[in-house]
């Protein structure tokens, strides 16, 4: 049963729902950020509560900041800069969206941003068009303007080699969604670039003892390492003995098992459990449901596909939805 939830404004290019699905942030081609709300939690009718012109440049992606840090979004602009906006009421004025911080990129463009919550702080990873990654950390949990650059590195296993003139079209980052105590922060990231070494998805883990980020796994078969990666998605784990990560490459959608106990040389054992070339063209977005049992994907063919594992652990397409008037 499909139901229309809301209509978007002209020129809308991207949308994002917040943690509880009660607010939608939409970015548009003219640099307007619109927020839609529903009046109460049981209602599924939404109306626009605010609309702010955040810049004169088009917004290409909106990402919500985790709710422990307020109602805030990061906007990535078409010119490769990004900024963080927050809804606040200051000095008994009514609630407004305000700019917290503008991140200007000098030579390379930012392609993707994702936030990760650790018990002590908020981390933000940004992937850039030169194949580099920057990890920022929030210093004051109540103010989204103080970000500290914690690390900067390239998406390669071998940290010695650097690739100066890489040119990336897109990047995809996905944090391990776990939020418990005693868990190291980790995320997976892959590039769509002309530099094969950068492309394959790598799992990065924060080494608390040495305060650095380490690549702990690579999600690609030896012969596929140079394949362009369009999208990655780390599934919520409600108790499986393995982690589940979906990676979409030029060959199709792959699903990986990742074992969190490292082997002798510190790497996490991985196993590819599925390869599907069902989706025509590039896969642009993959989303796991809350239990990590269903994967929803969409891409350049405009279709929405659902994937599930059957009783024998074989991943298969369950349904395809084609937008129809």
């Amino acid at each position: 049963m499909e139901k229309s939830v809301l209509k978007l404004d002209k020129g809308t290019t991207c949308t994002a729902w917040n943690y509880c699905g009660q607010r939608l942030a939409a970015g548009s081609v003219d640099g307007t950020l619109s927020v839609f709300d529903s009046p109460d939690p049981a209602s599924s009718s939404f109306s626009r509560s605010s609309s702010v012109k955040v810049r004169e440049v088009g917004i290409s992606k909106v990402v919500w900041v985790p709710p422990e840090y307020g109602d805030a979004v990061a906007c990535i602009f078409e010119d490769g800069n990004f900024s963080i906006w927050e809804e606040v009421a200051e000095d008994s004025l009514s609630v407004q969206w305000k700019l917290c911080e503008f991140f200007k990129s000098s030579s390379s463009k930012v392609l993707d941003i994702q936030f990760g919550v650790s018990p002590t702080s908020l981390k933000m990873v940004a992937g850039y068009s030169d194949g580099s990654l920057k990890v920022f950390e929030l210093t004051n949990p109540l103010e989204l303007k103080n970000w500290q650059l914690q690390a900067e590195f390239q998406n390669v296993i071998d940290s010695v080699s650097t690739f100066g003139k890489a040119s990336c079209l897109s990047a995809s980052i996905s944090w391990n969604p776990v939020r418990g105590e005693g868990q190291e922060s980790s995320f997976v990231m892959g590039f769509n670039s002309d530099t094969p070494q950068l492309n394959s998805s790598k799992v990065w883990e924060f080494d608390e003892a040495h305060q650095r980020w380490l690549p702990v796994a690579e999600l690609a078969l030896t012969e596929d390492r140079g394949d362009r990666v369009y999208s990655v998605a780390w599934a919520p784990n409600i108790g499986r003995p393995w982690e589940l990560i979906a990676v979409a490459t030029e060959k199709g959608i792959t699903i990986w098992h990742l074992n969190l106990s490292p082997d002798a040389d510190g790497r996490l054992p991985v196993e590819r459990v599925a390869l599907h070339s069902g989706q025509e063209g590039e896969v642009w977005q993959m989303e796991w449901d809350m239990s990590g049992m269903t994967l929803a994907t969409t891409g350049s063919d405009g279709a929405v596909k659902l994937w599930q594992s059957n009783l024998n652990g074989v991943w298969q397409g369950q349904a395809t939805f084609l937008p129809t008037c």
């Binding site: 978007l8 002209k10 020129g11 939690p41 109540l142 105590e181 809350m290 049992m293 395809t320």
Partner: protein, 707 residues
């Protein structure tokens, strides 16, 4: 979409290749951009953003469409009805789980009584659940007084209830095992109308005939009269058969004399029918047949009854019966009772009806499941189904004794609610089924089929704003992955709404999820704080014991309070400061404000400068504040300025030498700090500093003299 078959998108459905394709309907009239944006919201509802082509001249730039997968609503039962079933199932389910826990702990000590009684608990559970699925069965007995009405169109029964009762009778109700065929007869009597939509059934034949009854003059001349009687007899609806027979024209008073024999034959058949021996413990009042509990008695009675039919069949009276239709019709009834295959086949429409007629007349001594499956297959061959019916998969799975098929079919046809609840029936007292459904499977992520179905159901419950609160009951029965899913579910509830937040926290408390609970309170605290509700913000952060954020808030508050510390507008902070009272532990740096408020109150009490006791207390309070490391340095001067009254106390010096020295040292420290580059200059005139210094000096002098 998965409509109209509810639960098609379960993890159990083996998918065809390529996967089925469905339209995703939207109302945009412009050409769409291929870019689509996805988000899973609330359980398994998927929100899809569709965007118009940027250039197109249209009203809207896109639309967000919500797709509910595994939606309960399947046309047969509305969403609101499904929710009522869901609410009602909670208590029986929870009760059965707690019984199982006490049972398994009991069986560790004493293993034998487990199977003796467990199914009785399951039956109690099954009855409770069944009562939620619709009203008690529509009775087709002769309660209806109108002689021309024999079937009553009562409330339409549901396939859901029919399937539940089927599973109950085959799996849970151990008492009915010996008379399973008779239970099937009753079951079909209740649910035959369900098949009427797709096929002609005995029920639909009867209904059609009843509608035309008023137009018929001589009922026994109409071949349909004899047809419907034969059909009703074939499926064992004896009351209807007898009632119909008594409508026969020969019963009419004016005809009785010349149709004596005919009437006698009709009555003889009617009597035979009403005396049919039945292998069952009891019949409801006004229902026909004679009950036998023990098989030997039943066999004896059956042979005797058959003998009477045979005798009547060979009787010479038939020659004297001149009404052809009556003669043929009645003899056909006898053939049915004698188990003549072609008569039975002619009288029935659906294979299930033929199947039932077999139990009644061909193989009356069948007990249990022996060869029931092969018989069903034969019947299906004789009366093939043109299209599949919701109930057939479950039915065939049961007869084929394949638990996995039954579970898969009930999940596919009736959705996750059914799968999660029917497992209790399937496992009732069957070790094999229990092993199959409770065994942990690596391919499922080391959970059992039972747990998988409960997780799937809980996720469906989570999809609705009103039913998510009952998901925890099912999740807590999932030992391996239930708590993991519950944590995610709780974390995704909106925090700004107070009632919802409190309901959410109550669930955290119930399941001892303290981490989640404090995280949720933290989210609520930050939300309120940032949205101008500072009191609520501080309250929730205190509840979350988030000292880190509270300390940051303290810094921010000092800024605001600092501006107004010496004037009356400090009063507006009173309410907030009141809040800090109860949990001074968790107040973080805000503790200072509380002490400051108390100090202010004492100063006010002194008022006219005569109250010695209050003044002495105020001095102590001042000293505490000045010594306390959590008192920000920028408040030192304002504090001392506020205390001028104390320093210049008329009657005697209130501060002793060491106290005065301490304050002077602080003043000194402040002067040095002024020289540092990052010093925040308090909003204070220099005269104030001088008058404080002067007062302190005077007080020191007086104190030295005093000592």
């Amino acid at each position: 979409m998965p409509e109209p078959d509810g639960g098609e998108l379960g993890p159990l459905s083996s998918s065809p290749t390529p996967p089925p394709s469905y339209p995703l309907r939207h109302s945009l009239r412009s050409p769409l951009s291929p870019r689509v944006s996805l988000c899973w919201c609330r359980g398994n509802s998927l929100r899809v953003s569709l965007f118009s082509q940027p250039a197109s001249e249209v009203e809207f730039g896109g639309e967000v469409v919500e797709l509910k997968l595994n939606d309960g609503g399947d046309g047969e039962i509305s969403n609101a009805q499904w929710r009522r079933i869901a609410y009602g199932s909670v208590s029986p389910f929870a009760m059965l789980q707690s019984r199982r826990n006490s049972f398994s702990s009991l069986s560790k000590i004493n293993s034998s009584p487990y199977h003796l009684e467990w199914w009785e608990y399951v039956m109690e559970y099954s009855k409770d659940i069944n009562s939620l699925l619709g009203n008690p069965k529509s009775s087709k007995n002769s309660l209806i007084e109108d002689p021309k009405t024999f079937v009553q169109k009562s409330e339409e029964p549901t396939c859901l209830k029919a399937a539940w009762e089927l599973m109950e009778m085959f799996y849970a109700d151990k008492l009915s095992q010996p008379w399973l065929p008779e239970r099937l007869v009753d079951w079909l009597a209740d649910y035959d109308s369900l098949f009427a939509r797709a096929y002609g059934t005995v029920y639909s034949k009867l209904l059609n005939f009843q509608n035309e009854l008023i137009n018929l003059q001589v009922i026994e001349d109409d071949p349909r009269y004899w047809e419907v009687i034969a059909s009703a007899l074939a499926v064992g609806w004896l009351e209807i058969v007898v009632k119909l027979l008594r409508l026969h024209g020969s019963y009419q008073l004016d005809q009785l004399s010349n149709r004596e024999t005919e009437n006698g034959l009709v009555e003889a058949v009617a009597v035979l029918i009403s005396k049919m021996p039945r292998m069952r413990p009891e019949l409801e009042p006004r229902r026909l047949g004679e009950c036998y509990k023990a098989k030997p008695d039943f066999i004896k009675a059956w042979e005797k009854w058959r003998g009477q039919i045979n005798k009547l069949d060979c009787s010479a009276f038939w020659i004297q019966c001149h009404h052809v239709q009556t003669r043929e019709g009645l003899r056909n009834l006898l053939q049915i009772m004698l188990g003549n295959m072609s008569s039975l086949s002619a009288a029935t429409s659906h294979w299930l009806e033929l199947y039932i007629s077999h139990f009644l007349y061909v193989r009356p001594f069948t007990a249990g499941l022996e060869s029931m499956y092969s018989l069903a297959q034969r019947c299906i061959q004789l009366k093939p189904m043109s299209n599949s019916h919701k109930l057939m998969g479950v039915m065939i799975g049961i007869l084929g004794e394949n638990t996995e098929v039954v579970l898969a079919e009930s999940s596919k046809e009736f959705g996750p609610w059914m799968a999660a609840h029917a497992i209790e029936l399937l496992t009732a007292g069957s070790d094999e089924a229990e092993a199959l459904l409770r065994e942990e499977r690596y391919s499922l992520g080391e959970i059992s089929l039972e747990e998988l179905h409960r997780l799937v159901y809980a996720q469906v419950l989570s999809s609705h704003a009103l039913s998510w609160q009952i998901a925890p009951v099912y999740l807590s029965s999932c030992l391996k992955q239930g708590m993991g899913l519950l944590e995610i579910l709780l974390y995704r509830q909106p925090v700004p709404h107070k009632e919802l937040l409190l309901k959410n926290l109550e669930i955290c408390r119930l399941y001892e999820l303290d981490d989640i609970s404090s995280n949720i309170m933290k989210m609520a605290g930050v939300h309120h704080w940032k949205h101008g509700r500072k009191g609520s913000g501080v309250y929730w952060l205190q509840q979350a014991q988030d000292e880190f954020r509270l300390n940051k808030i303290a810094q921010l508050l000092f800024g605001s309070v600092g501006k107004s510390i010496s004037d009356e507008s400090f009063k507006q902070w009173e309410g907030l400061i009141e809040l800090l009272h109860s949990e001074s532990k968790a107040a973080g740096g805000l503790e200072f404000l509380l002490k400051y408020r108390d100090f202010k109150r004492l100063l006010q009490q002194i008022g006219d400068g005569k109250n010695d006791v209050a003044a002495q207390q105020a001095v102590e309070s001042l000293m505490l504040l000045m010594k306390n490391p959590s008192t920000p340095q920028r408040f030192w001067l304002p504090l001392l300025n506020d205390s001028l009254k104390l320093l210049n106390w008329q009657d005697r010096p209130l501060l002793n030498v060491s106290q005065t020295n301490l304050l002077l040292n602080k003043l000194q420290e402040l002067s040095i700090a002024r020289l540092r580059p990052h010093f925040v200059k308090p909003d204070f005139p220099m005269e104030a500093l001088n008058s404080v210094r002067l007062s302190l000096a005077t007080n020191l002098g007086r104190a030295i003299l005093e000592e």
